[in-house]
């Protein structure tokens, strides 16, 4: 990919220079045309004025070629200094239609102007000529009908035989000088302007792209350890604010993801450190003892080791289950199930614990509720929800379980007495390893149960929500679609044939 700066500079420069050249050419042509027109117009006006001084009188005598005509040149008696010999003299010459020279200016002396090409009567024609003094000149050629002096001619009107041809010429020095000045000016500015334009364009592009460079520099300085950094969108030009805003959103999500990953890694390490420390100190303690251990001590030690191993195994298995669920690798077998049976089965192992702790349980379940789901995965969802409710309901508290039919779903509602959670806590309950008790005192609970509930719910395509109700009720709602006539439920993960 080419450089944006280079791209802009080249295109702006090329465009500007093209515009300049186009303008210059246009201006040149317009100016030159205008100069020419003014020059020609002035010359033509002079020639037309001249023709007003020419009269034709016919004396009636017949010539071989017709009626004798006398041309009366009134200007002959006038002092016309411009036609006198001088370096800046003008020239004129007058012909009949047939090419006979009638008159010419004193400035011509013995020389003649070149006979003009035929022209249209009344329309001046301009030609460049070589003047008798060798200079370049411009001549106006007029074919005109002079004034008629005698009554007969006036009565008859002009005839073609009366037409005369006048050529009036002057040097075109002023025109050429003007052209030279024009060309010099264009050449001068033509050299300076591209340089100036290039400099201006370069600077303008550089300044214009400064925000891009700045944002690139800011982005470049953001690393894994500085994801809290944000780009100041308000300092950006209007066009770049959406980019900065989106980048900040992305950084926010990245920061959250990294924090979550760091937290997860740290939590996993933390959960493993204590059982490993227990194993280690037990082993080292026994190895330090010189005497053979008593059988009772050995059995007790092995019970401890088994407990530690079980705890670690439970942690690792849950982590694996989470990882499989999140990656979509858990197989899903969708079959028609009775939701009431699933709930009852998942609840059964917890009945003894609630009885022992004097926890009241209220249930409102229909006789049956057909749903399409994966029995194992949904069973795990229910098992974890129930385990969580039983573990965190204080002795003497209450657990309420209802199953109701909403419009398009069956809703499982599980509420338990809970006095230690806040509204802010609720937003975290599905996060891995999150526990209200930061000390993580209970080794049986590592804070992954509700994460697994959420993960499996996502896999199954069912909605699970939690909230606090009142001052002491933690409520989890699970909405699951009823059984379809044909199993059309979709879920993430690999779908195996039922």
């Amino acid at each position: 990919m080419t450089s944006l700066r280079r791209h802009l500079v080249l295109h702006l420069l090329a465009g500007t220079l093209l515009l300049y050249v186009t303008w210059a050419i246009g201006f040149y042509l317009y100016t030159w045309h205008t100069f020419n027109e003014h020059f020609n117009t002035a010359l033509a006006e002079k020639a037309w004025t001249f023709t007003d001084l020419i009269e034709v009188e016919r004396d009636g005598r017949r010539r071989d070629d017709g009626i004798r005509t006398r041309v009366d040149l009134e200007f002959l008696g006038l002092a016309l200094p411009e036609f006198q010999p001088s370096p800046d003299a003008m020239f004129y010459q007058l012909w009949t239609r047939t090419g006979d020279v009638i008159a010419k200016s004193p400035s011509l002396a013995r020389r003649d102007l070149a006979p003009p090409a035929p022209s249209v009567t009344g329309q001046p024609m301009f030609v460049d000529v070589e003047l008798p003094n060798g200079e370049r000149g411009r001549a106006a050629v007029l074919r005109f009908a002079p004034r008629l002096d005698d009554e007969v001619s006036r009565a008859r009107g002009p005839v073609p035989d009366d037409e005369l041809v006048l050529m009036m010429a002057r040097n075109r020095r002023t025109l050429d000088d003007a052209w030279a000045v024009l060309v010099q000016g264009f050449l001068l500015f033509g050299c300076l302007l591209p340089v100036g334009t290039a400099w201006v364009v370069h600077r303008a592009v550089r300044r214009g792209l400064n925000p891009v460079s700045r944002i690139a520099s800011e982005i470049g300085s953001i690393g894994v350890t500085s994801l809290a950094s944000r780009i100041d969108a308000h300092a950006m030009p209007e066009e770049m604010r959406p980019i900065a805003t989106r980048l900040n959103d992305l950084l926010g999500r990245l920061e959250t993801a990294f924090q979550r990953e760091r937290r997860l890694t740290s939590d996993i390490a933390h959960e493993l450190r204590t059982p490993i420390a227990e194993l280690r100190i037990l082993a080292e303690m026994r190895l330090r003892e010189g005497s053979e251990p008593q059988e009772g001590d050995v059995r007790e030690d092995m019970r401890d080791v088994l407990g530690i191993a079980t705890q670690m195994e439970r942690l690792i298995e849950t982590l694996f289950a989470l990882a499989r669920g999140q990656s979509g690798a858990v197989p899903v077998h969708l079959t028609e199930q009775d939701l009431v049976a699933l709930v009852t089965t998942a609840w059964r192992p917890h009945q003894a614990a609630v009885d022992m702790r004097d926890i009241a349980v209220d249930t409102a379940l229909p006789s049956s509720a057909a749903v399409t789901t994966d029995a194992e995965l949904f069973g795990a969802v229910l098992a974890n929800l129930f385990a969580n409710a039983v573990a965190y309901t204080p002795a003497g508290g209450r657990i309420t379980m209802t199953l109701t039919r909403a419009e398009q779903t069956w809703r499982v509602r599980l509420a338990n007495t809970c006095v230690h959670l806040t509204a802010d806590d609720v937003s975290h309950v599905f996060e891995p390893f999150w526990r209200k008790d930061e000390a993580r005192s209970d080794p049986a609970r590592v804070g992954l149960g509700l994460s697994l509930v959420k993960t499996y719910s996502d896999v199954l395509g069912i909605d699970v929500q939690c909230r606090l109700e009142g001052d002491d009720q933690f409520v989890v709602s699970v909405e699951i679609p009823p059984a379809a006539p044909a199993s059309t439920a979709t879920a993430r993960g690999s779908i195996a044939a039922a």
């Binding site: 420390a277 227990e278 280690r280 080794p443």
Partner: protein, 225 residues
């Protein structure tokens, strides 16, 4: 030496207490911060092994309260929080040492021993009284270069007196720092322990290194007054 072990993991707490008792420490234990503060309010501990992530009151808050109350016990933080930031925080809040789980038992014992020595301003690990050398790092005793076998309780008694060498140590203080539960002792248990110790470290023709101050306590010193 009397040590308080504050750890919410019941298994780890049990193992720590066992391991420390086996090397002669008198041990109390607590499972949460509240219990720890209640115990430190009434007992003068030589050292406290303190977990950070405790229920009710966390370990660093317990540490803050201990220092505010002027507790002189040396505190060794034992925790799974392993980052430099965590260690720096713990030490800045008043801990004397920091050990990350999992740890080597030998290291825990060595660090604890070093803390206890500092508690009594004893910088060198070896204390010599006449021809008896007590190596507090190795927990070994020699007399004229020959090793003397002492039971854990006997060693604990000798070590406590050695760290307070030349100073009068009351009976109550000795009982509190040597025995897990001083209230359960038979009345002459300490005298019997001192007697056994004297038999092992004293020279036959020389005055006992463990001098009795009747009604007051004992002094370990080579100078007899």
């Amino acid at each position: 030496m009397r040590v308080l072990v504050v750890e919410d993991s019941s298994r780890l707490r049990k193992f720590l207490c066992q391991a420390l008792r086996r090397v002669g420490y008198a041990i109390d234990s607590a499972a949460d911060g509240e219990e720890a503060l209640a115990l430190t309010g009434s007992v003068d501990y030589d050292a406290i092994v303190l977990d950070v992530m405790l229920p009710k009151i966390d370990g660093l808050s317990v540490l803050d309260r201990l220092r505010q109350d002027g507790c002189q016990a040396r505190v060794l933080i034992l925790t799974a929080k392993h980052t430099v930031e965590d260690r720096v925080t713990g030490l800045q809040r008043g801990a004397d040492d920091y050990l990350v789980k999992p740890f080597a038992l030998d290291e825990l014992l060595a660090r604890l021993q070093a803390l206890v020595r500092r508690r009594y301003d004893c910088l060198a690990p070896v204390v010599t009284v006449a021809d008896v050398s007590i190596d507090t790092a190795r927990r070994s005793v020699t007399k004229n270069g020959l090793a003397i076998a002492l039971r854990p309780r006997e060693y604990a008694l000798l070590e406590y007196l050695a760290l307070r060498k030349g100073a009068l140590v009351s009976r109550a203080e000795l009982e509190n720092h040597i025995y897990d539960d001083p209230d359960e002792l038979v009345s002459n248990a300490l005298d019997a322990a001192v007697s056994r110790l004297r038999r092992k470290i004293d020279s036959p023709d020389a005055p006992s290194l463990v001098q009795t101050r009747r009604g007051m306590g004992y002094i370990l010193d080579e100078d007899v007054t």
